[in-house]
């Protein structure tokens, strides 16, 4: 069987149709969209069309609310830094403990500069407490930034409701929606969300292209100043080929959104059910009843994620892990720690994330090899003995920690 790619929350394959619409912008319409000659005369139209394709996917009111950026991280940084620059008297930011580093690392940095960062905790199923959120909203808060869906567990947060609450308190609301866009339907014009980040490479467009949605009338300060591109809100010559590619990818995502929530979801559910039924001592993390249709994150107790990934890779299967060792950082995933998942399980979490390119046959192949991989590693584990974990694992094996 050909290699199986189940790491679509990390990044996706670029759709062939997307590549096809991009090629002319490298070879023929390569002119600068600002130029007045025939090498550029189609570019402005291409960009306008792409803007409308993005608009249709996220359901915003105006296509001028779309600002093309270089990536999700740039969109996130632009949103937060704009909010604090535009409102210099407000010194607080509300976010969550489970955001992507694109938000968390920036917030840590702002903390050093004197900002107060409120990080909403999550419960064991990865859910936020809206009551404690309400108490934090005040006229001191410059911006709330809450991800639409978590990249590791797929847990969806009630951003529409949270944006209403922020709006009522006069606070700007931003959502990092890079994992949600294209996987669940959205209609931004019916919400009070002021800013939203999305990233091309998560929805079968190339890497290096992103969008910041900016609601008309939201006070704004650009991150990059220079030329008049993006109506002066993001200077720098347009990445025209990628913008056109992203437009096409958004159009395709909209066409497939039902498929994503039926067929893709069925594949995910079958894999999840098959694994949890055939392998003892594993469990699904996150909010099982409120998740992205393509994501499952499973904790395999008493073994470590990188080892699992290496054996999966040998079997031709690509996934990812929340273990410390895969990230090069020294801690297991902050998302797993925030959900209070025990160490011996947090290190063994594996995320399988699907796309419309996956098939049921691939699911069956993973189900065939997974029990053997887990058993092989448990045989090496000091927490495991024969067919089950040792009695009182934490007491039976209590190493001296350096």
């Amino acid at each position: 069987m050909a290699d199986i790619y189940l790491d679509n929350n990390a990044t996706t394959k670029v759709d062939h149709e997307v590549v096809d619409v991009m090629i002319p912008y490298f070879l023929e319409q390569y002119g600068n969209p600002s130029s007045i000659h025939k090498f550029a005369d189609g570019v402005a139209r291409g960009l306008k069309h792409a803007r409308q394709q993005v608009q249709a996917l996220i359901g915003c009111e105006h296509d001028s609310e779309i600002i093309f950026t270089s990536c999700g991280t740039e969109s996130n940084s632009t949103a937060l830094l704009s909010a604090i620059k535009a409102q210099p008297n407000k010194k607080e930011i509300i976010t969550t403990t489970v955001e992507h580093p694109a938000i968390l690392t920036l917030c840590e940095h702002l903390e050093k500069e004197g900002y107060t960062i409120h990080r909403l905790p999550v419960d064991k199923a990865g859910r936020l407490n809206i009551e404690s959120y309400k108490k934090l909203l005040s006229d001191q808060v410059a911006i709330v930034s809450v991800m639409w869906a978590n990249n590791e567990t797929g847990t969806i947060f009630p951003v529409a409701e949270m944006a209403e609450l922020a709006h009522a308190a006069g606070v700007m609301f931003h959502t990092d929606a890079v994992q949600a866009v294209g996987k669940i339907p959205m209609m931004l014009q019916d919400t009070k969300i002021d800013m939203l980040s999305l990233s091309g490479h998560k929805l079968h467009a190339p890497k290096g292209i992103g969008v910041l949605y900016l609601r008309r009338g939201t006070r704004y300060r650009p991150l990059l100043r220079g030329g008049h591109q993006e109506r002066g809100r993001r200077a720098g010559t347009e990445n025209s080929a990628s913008i056109v590619g992203l437009g096409k990818a958004c159009e395709l995502a909209l066409n497939y959104i039902e498929y994503e929530n039926t067929t893709v979801k069925e594949m995910r559910d079958r894999l999840e059910k098959g694994i949890t039924e055939s392998i003892p001592h594993c469990f699904v993390t996150g909010d099982l009843y409120n998740r992205l249709p393509n994501t499952t994150d499973i904790a395999f107790e008493y073994i470590e994620g990188e080892s699992i990934l290496m054996l999966l890779n040998k079997a031709g299967i690509a996934a990812s892990s929340g273990s410390a060792c895969t990230s090069g950082s020294l801690e297991p995933s902050h998302v797993m720690r925030a959900m209070d998942i025990p160490y011996t399980a947090a290190h063994g979490t594996i995320r399988f994330s699907f796309s419309r390119y996956n098939t049921m046959a691939e699911v069956d192949e993973v189900l065939k090899v997974m029990p053997g991989i887990v058993a092989t590693l448990r045989k090496l584990s000091p927490y495991w003995d024969g067919d089950g974990p040792v009695a009182n694992p934490e007491q039976a094996f209590a190493p001296t920690y350096a």
Binding site: S307, M310, A324, C325, S329, L330, A346, L380, A398
Partner: protein, 301 residues
């Protein structure tokens, strides 16, 4: 994915001596708090000869933790416990044909499990002698705890000081922001303030910046001086450097001892180059002497 050597992969995919030794008379259980990995090493030691007859490991950890455990058991079987105690974590990493800097702690865990098992055999209590922190300098595998201790102990005040004393930050320089943060923190604890413009406090012999262009003789002398000042830290790692030739702005050096063939050699060379440029205030290129032959061939041709 990590760039693991073939040897690491071999030991991970086909681990040797997995599982507990049946009639073990020595057990060591250690973990690395930094990544959650843990290892139980069981040994069967001959009471008369003190030779390790059997060794088995059980590891909760990543690919390199399992490989380090596996290769360790292979290394120690047949050794006396006194000889086994001489094994360093570098030896374990060496047997694996190197480990990525982020993963060196896996080899440390192996050495510690061995020490703990032998202490257990001798009826002693093993005490861990080092603390591990977040990895700061990836070029030279230096962690935060080490840097903090050196800043405290030697009254370091600048990034340059830290590089002189620990090597941290002497390679690609991308960790300088993190080193500044550590300096800020420690100096604040001491009631001082971090000032990036202050002259390096701890530099033993300050070499004056040279304004006028150097003559070739001056340049060679300066390069020798700088290499001399770097030598102690190279010797500490069992390596050395030798200046072979200087042609224009290019210095040809031989890395000897442990530096020879070390996977960090390229990093060390770029660290030397950076130091030379800082001291001499001009562009200097440092190149392994082996490159000189190519140069001669070109000239002859």
């Amino acid at each position: 994915m990590w760039d693991y050597s073939d040897k690491v992969k071999e030991h991970f995919f086909n681990p040797k001596n997995a599982g507990a030794v049946a009639e073990a008379n020595a057990t060591g259980e250690v973990g690395s708090i930094s990544c959650g990995d843990a290892l139980r090493l069981t040994l069967k030691v001959d009471d008369d000869t003190e030779v390790i007859l059997e060794a088995g490991f059980q590891t909760f950890g990543c690919g390199s933790a399992i490989a380090s455990s596996s290769v360790l058991t292979e290394m120690i079987i047949g050794m006396t416990i006194d000889d086994a105690l001489k094994i360093t974590n570098q030896d374990i990493a060496g047997q694996l044909e190197g480990l990525p800097p982020e993963k060196m702690h896996c080899s440390v865990m192996g050495r510690e499990a061995l020490q703990a098992a032998i202490a257990n055999y001798r009826g002693e209590v093993w005490k861990d002698d080092h603390e591990e922190g977040a990895l700061i300098c990836k070029c030279f595998a230096i962690d935060a705890v080490m840097i903090e201790e050196m800043v405290w102990a030697n009254k370091l005040r600048t990034v340059e000081d830290v590089t002189n004393f620990t090597k941290a930050g002497g390679g690609c320089a991308s960790c300088h922001e993190d080193i500044e943060a550590i300096l800020e923190k420690v100096l604040a604890e001491k009631g001082e303030k971090f000032d990036p413009t202050v002259a390096p406090a701890a530099q033993p012999e300050k070499i004056a910046a040279v304004k006028a262009p150097l003559t070739n003789l001056q340049r060679i002398k300066k390069i020798e001086e700088v290499l001399e000042s770097l030598r102690p830290s190279l010797l500490a790692d069992g390596g050395d450097v030798e200046l072979v030739e200087v042609i224009g702005n290019t210095a040809y050096v031989n890395m000897t001892g442990a530096c020879n063939g070390c996977q960090m050699a390229a990093m060390t060379i770029s660290g030397i180059q950076q130091r030379l440029m800082e001291v001499m205030g001009e562009f200097i290129k440092v190149v392994p002497a082996s490159e000189m032959s190519k140069l001669t061939q070109v000239e002859v041709a």
